[in-house]
């Protein structure tokens, strides 16, 4: 009986209430379609062609994909991308968490410190790259090397040694990303019930136990957000590498995106570069969906 009553109501079409959000969303959606989804679709389309705009694109099927996936430089780049993506993500979460613990509170001096610590996030990556290149200068004049000199170490050619260049890039990546995570984790920490800490203090628990059994469970939603963002950003690392090392020396810091860039713009192979980008898109999508799946499963539990 109830069903027969509600059915005609549905047939009246979408209500004003239902349309309004779409109206607000429309400009953003339109912009996204024109500037994001159409170019993305074009990129996927081009990945099946040898691109020659004025001579006519030539259909090559999966050739671009085969070429990219069988190129040993792309294969090396996969390894570097994974090491860098995972290293920067985990490192930035850990450092972000430590920063958040240190800078949590209401004091005015803490606000100033938080602003100072947040600066790398709002600084242009090109500027950060230049700054770190100077800091990594491979003689004892460099900032890091002069500090190491006090300890009797070095000078270390951070960016010129293929064994250290990737790690040096990772440290810069962590430095740039950690403050962003710090802000999200700080928001999570603000919601932790203080009485739990007081009760724990009365029970005489250690600092580690307090972190393990109160803080970490309480900020799990914030950590979930940070992890999802890290999964999205981790694999598409580009600017940090491009400005700091350009993929060198000897390709030791080449990541998937720098190779795709070189293929597209140094070798003018836009079809191959599109194929490389599509592969990256698929892997990133897969990773994001997987992280989200495990996060939701964790939330349900």
């Amino acid at each position: 009986m109830t069903a027969t009553v509600t059915a005609p109501a549905r047939r009246r079409g979408p209500s004003k209430k239902a349309v309004l959000p779409w109206l607000f969303l429309a400009p953003g959606l339109l912009l996204a379609v024109v500037f994001k989804f159409l170019p993305m679709g074009k990129g996927i389309w081009l990945s099946f062609f040898k691109v020659r705009p004025f001579l006519g694109d030539k259909w090559v099927g999966l050739d671009n994909y085969t070429r990219v996936l069988s190129d040993h430089r792309f294969q090396d780049a996969i390894g570097h991308t994974l090491v860098l993506g995972v290293g920067i993500s985990l490192g930035a979460i850990l450092v972000g968490f430590l920063l958040a613990l240190l800078l949590e509170g209401q004091a005015r001096s803490l606000k100033i410190m938080r602003t100072a610590v947040f600066l790398p996030v709002v600084t242009a990556t090109a500027v950060v790259g230049e700054l770190w290149r100077l800091m990594y200068y491979p003689t004892s004049d460099g900032l890091v090397n002069s500090a190491l000199g006090f300890l009797g170490i070095g000078p270390v050619p951070f960016l010129d040694n293929p064994d250290t260049a990737l790690w040096a890039t990772m440290v810069m990546g962590i430095w740039m990303a950690a403050p962003y995570n710090m802000v999200i984790i700080l928001a999570g920490l603000a919601g932790v019930d203080r009485s739990l800490y007081e009760a724990a203090a009365m029970d005489g628990v250690s600092l580690w136990q307090r972190l393990r059994y109160i803080t970490l469970p309480a900020i799990r939603p914030a950590l979930g957000v940070v992890l999802t963002l890290a999964a999205i950003r981790g694999l598409r690392v580009f600017t940090e590498v491009y400005v700091l090392t350009g993929g060198g020396p000897a390709g030791s810091t080449d990541v998937w995106m720098t190779r795709a860039y070189t293929l597209g713009f140094s070798r003018n192979d836009l079809g191959g570069a599109s194929a490389a980008s599509v592969v990256l898109l698929c892997v990133t999508l897969l990773l994001t969906v997987t992280v989200n799946y495990f996060r939701k499963r964790g939330d349900v539990r």
């Binding site: 705009p53 004025f54 290149r133 960016l159 350009g246």
Partner: protein
Amino acid sequence: MGDRQRRRRLAAALAAAGLAFGTAACGSGSGGTGSGDPNTLEVWTRSDPDSAATYDRIFAAFTKKTGIKIDYQPVVNFDQQLQARASTKDLPDVMINDTALMGSYQSQGLLKPIDPESIAGHGQISAKSWSSTVGLDGKHYGIPYSRQAMTLMIRKDWLKKLGLKAPATWQQMLDVAKAFADRDPDGDGKKDTYGIVAPGSAMNGYAAWWGAGFLWQGGAQIIEPDGKGRYRPTMDSAAAVRTVTWMKDNLFCGARGVLQPGAVSAVTGTATNFQDGNAGMYMTGPYNITSFDTTPGKNTYEVVPAPAGPAGSDVLAEGENVYFGARTGKTGQEQALAAFLVSAEGQKIGMTSVDGHQPVVRIPTNSTLDAAKVRGDARWSVVQKAYETASEQFPNAPDFAPIKQDTADSLNALFTYCGSDVRSGLKELNETLAGDLKDQDLLK
């Protein structure tokens, strides 16, 4: 919240979105006013704002003379922007960019063929210059606009202090480099100076660009034409192995300070040691003369020919051509602009610096002009002589971009790993180059 207020907010949001679209549309189009106007030419050059100021003067003079307006766009990341425009099949009418890119552009169909006879004053351009704009099909695809050759910039004050002379051979260059690194030429009591500046990164093909002169001076070639329109890779030759081994052992893996620190990851933008005053030699193009005259200072350095290797002292010659974008219907106006650009008047404006801005014509392609006389600076005769008598260009008929990039990747890897086996590394490079030529259907 009342309905009226809600409606107002909605209207404001839509207006803002409309504005955003409008702005975006302005930014993404062919840019500027009048690109559809038959009497306006859209011109792109690969220039930073400094060089663009010189181009502005050239185009102003052209417009004053002919009435043809110029919608001028200086583009720093030229190739990326050009590929983006090419994908919309809407190219600029006229482009001025590197000669070595002609093959790449032509292979993508971006250029209109040019009949030299159709350019007024074509006879004032030498046959050598015209021959460098012939594509694989025997047609011309560019008009020679500016040329240059690398020379050695060297600190004469350091030479004087150490009682040395500018080097004439590789060995002398090495000796001077070691002296610059070890004997405190700047007199500050510290070991903080270096011999030679090298942009040795593989990024954008720099290692091949900077190393090309050494290869030729050592008797090696990257690819060789067979005279019948095809090419063969020759980086596995004995001369190439010998030369690259010499570079690796003496420069990149040699005594401390022969090259500046970080040479294997340096590009021209970051290899600033000569300007910074802590390196004494830099084999580079004459476009740097203007900035080097400011720092380290005109009186501190001299411009000399490149030191000779076992097979001579050829250096890399480069230059820029005027290209006409494919499928534009303004041929008459384009030809008029090209004629002005290569005329004595146009080239003179491009060669002079006003308010310290960078000149855009280095060695004039108009043979009635003398670079040193126009500028009143004898150093330019060293560059002009190097270009005319001891220089080679990268082949411009094939698409040289992948060849240069692969060569740079390989050289950079050999120079980075000092224990590497040069012979096997170059054999592998040669196979890669054969693949590049095969992709272009040019392998002999």
